[in-house]
Amino acid sequence: MSAAAILTLDSVHKRFGGLHAVNDVSFQVHEGSIKAVIGPNGAGKTTLFNLIAGTLPVSAGGITFLGREIQGRKPYQIAALGMARTFQNIKLFHGMTALQCVMVGRHVQSRAGFLAGMLSLPSTWSEERAIRTRSMELLDLLQIADLADCEATSLAFGQQRAVEMARALAAEPRLLLLDEPAAGLNIYETAEVARLIRRIRDMGITVLLVEHDMSLVMDISDEIVVLSFGSKLAEDTPANIQSNAEVIRIYLGDDDAAA
């Protein structure tokens, strides 16, 4: 990889009381690549995501995003720097349409505050129109434009995932974190997700994902990080990971659930 690192983790630790959930994990994500974090259940993948996105504070270590130290910053500050994410257990907003959910995603790309909102100035209108137009484009990209006015939380599971992804993309992020984008999807939908992730990468957005579905991970990733019990076990290309004895042991020997 010759491209510059967009995200760097430097010996990151996370302890919950006595539990060492993330132990000395370091890796880099290169601009324009797709990187996957895999590992058995409880390996600390989602915790790692929450550390990167700022939802949880790191216990030790440093995280650098676009050349800035981001550990200790609030999630909204990190989002404003250009990092967007989806959630493993989908978190759409109750009582809002799919379009409105995506429009919330435009938050960092728009400015109108309390006063402008209350007075509803012409400048606010044009900003609103721009937010709406871009959000519709994204729903279109994810092929759910016809569901724009449906209540988001009442959609089918796969459609909810799509809305969440549109919401994340609406922020025009440099880096997109996807937490198990294929969980609960059938093989056709998973293939669709794979196509979509590639398309997102081709739009110039770097992708870091956590995923259980090995075929998806091996199919799309440029590089893979393997976590086991909070520690980094391996980091390599998909082909090398597949032949890595240690990785095969944790997946097939101790824990064949993911096979």
Partner: protein, 358 residues
């Protein structure tokens, strides 16, 4: 949505005028007094409705903000500052033209703060207190937030009740009118006061203010900020991940609702000519919550109409000695059977009717 709101607000203006005509024709203009008061309470309720319904933050202490506004306005416009004329804060007020001289009942010189200045100071004080209280309180959730705001309201109540400056159990009376505009041409001066000669003008003033206040909040709800508030209500984590500074937005909407309450307190105090400690009581705060709940938490129109309507009935004494009990009943009934507010029942009704037909 925007045109629908504009139309509805226009309709509300018409309704206000129709009610006036109706009372004029039937010679029952005394109703306008309670309607004026209800409109001011309506201002508190829609502010609280935005905080509770859209941002999802409960406050059982909003009577406290109402009372801060009302009491400060009352005290500043009635308490004689003459003995303190040499102290620096009073001299500053004088230099800024914020003082006025008059005579008390016995002909002695009475130096008080101009009502407009008192209004600004009172609302600013409420906003400042909301800021200081809001920073720690809004970190809390659920029961903790409810109890903390209840505690805040109770402290305000106790302090007012224990302070001679605020008249202890008697409150403050003899509050003068609040001249908003001087007389222009054939139009008389615009004054917020309970003088029967000003009744119609005050009715339109209060309703106009309520409509403008509601319009501003409706705009806000439809805006980027409104979306962010609803988002953080549903999931703070997801809202943060979308770049919403949830702490800041919660604080701002808390202050906004406190300003609505304080402004209503100031104006209603000038209209009533006084204020008493019952305005700061927990029961008042609970009543505001009840009215927001009846209207439907996320339905500003419902909150507005039910709030003004029920407050009017209560002020007319329709519920007699069961006044507080009625509001308790309303709270429970609505929360048990129609958590979406009374207006949400029409959907249920429509569903039942459709079911019966088929």
């Amino acid at each position: 949505m925007r045109t629908r709101n504009t139309l509805a607000l226009g309709g509300l203006c018409l309704l206000v005028a129709c009610i006036h005509l109706l009372t004029a024709l039937t010679g029952s203009q005394y109703y306008l007094t309670q309607l004026t008061m209800s409109a001011y309470y309506g201002l508190v309720i829609i502010g609280l409705g935005t905080l509770m319904g859209y941002a999802g933050q409960i406050s059982i202490g909003h009577a406290g903000f109402f009372a801060i506004g009302g009491y400060l306005a009352a005290a500043l416009t009635t308490r004689n500052l003459e003995p303190f004329l040499t102290s620096p804060p009073v001299r500053w007020l004088e230099a800024l033209g914020m003082l006025r001289a008059g005579q008390d009942l016995y002909g002695a010189r009475l130096i008080t703060v101009e009502p407009w200045a008192a209004c600004c100071l009172a609302v600013a004080a409420a906003a400042l207190i909301a800021l200081v209280i809001g920073i720690p309180v809004l970190k809390l959730k659920g029961h903790y937030l409810a109890m903390a705001t209840l505690g805040f309201g109770t402290i305000i109540y106790r302090v007012l009740l224990a302070s001679p400056y605020f008249g202890e159990a008697d409150g403050i009376s003899e509050v003068p009118g609040f001249p908003l505009l001087p007389a222009m041409g054939s139009l008389g001066p615009v004054v917020v006061s309970g003088d029967p000669g000003h009744r119609v003008m005050n009715y339109y003033l209060a309703c106009g203010l309520l409509i403008v206040g509601a319009g501003l909040l409706l705009n806000l709800i439809e805006s980027r900020v409104g979306r962010a508030l609803r988002a953080l209500h549903s999931s703070e984590e997801a809202a943060e991940a979308s770049g919403v500074d949830t702490a800041r937005f919660k604080l701002k909407v808390f202050i906004l609702s406190a300003v609505y309450a304080a402004l209503a307190g100031v104006l209603l105090t000038h209209f009533n000519g006084g204020i008493g400690p019952s305005e700061a009581s927990v029961m008042k705060s609970v009543r505001y919550v009840a009215l927001v709940a009846v209207g439907g938490m996320t339905n500003l129109w419902g909150t507005l109409l039910m709030g003004v309507g029920l407050t009017f009935l209560s002020l007319r004494g329709v519920f007699g000695t069961y006044d507080d009990a009625v509001f308790g009943m309303i709270l429970i009934g609505v929360m048990l059977f129609a958590p979406g507010g009374i207006l949400s029942l029409r959907h249920l009704l429509r569903g039942l009717l459709a079911g019966a037909r088929s």
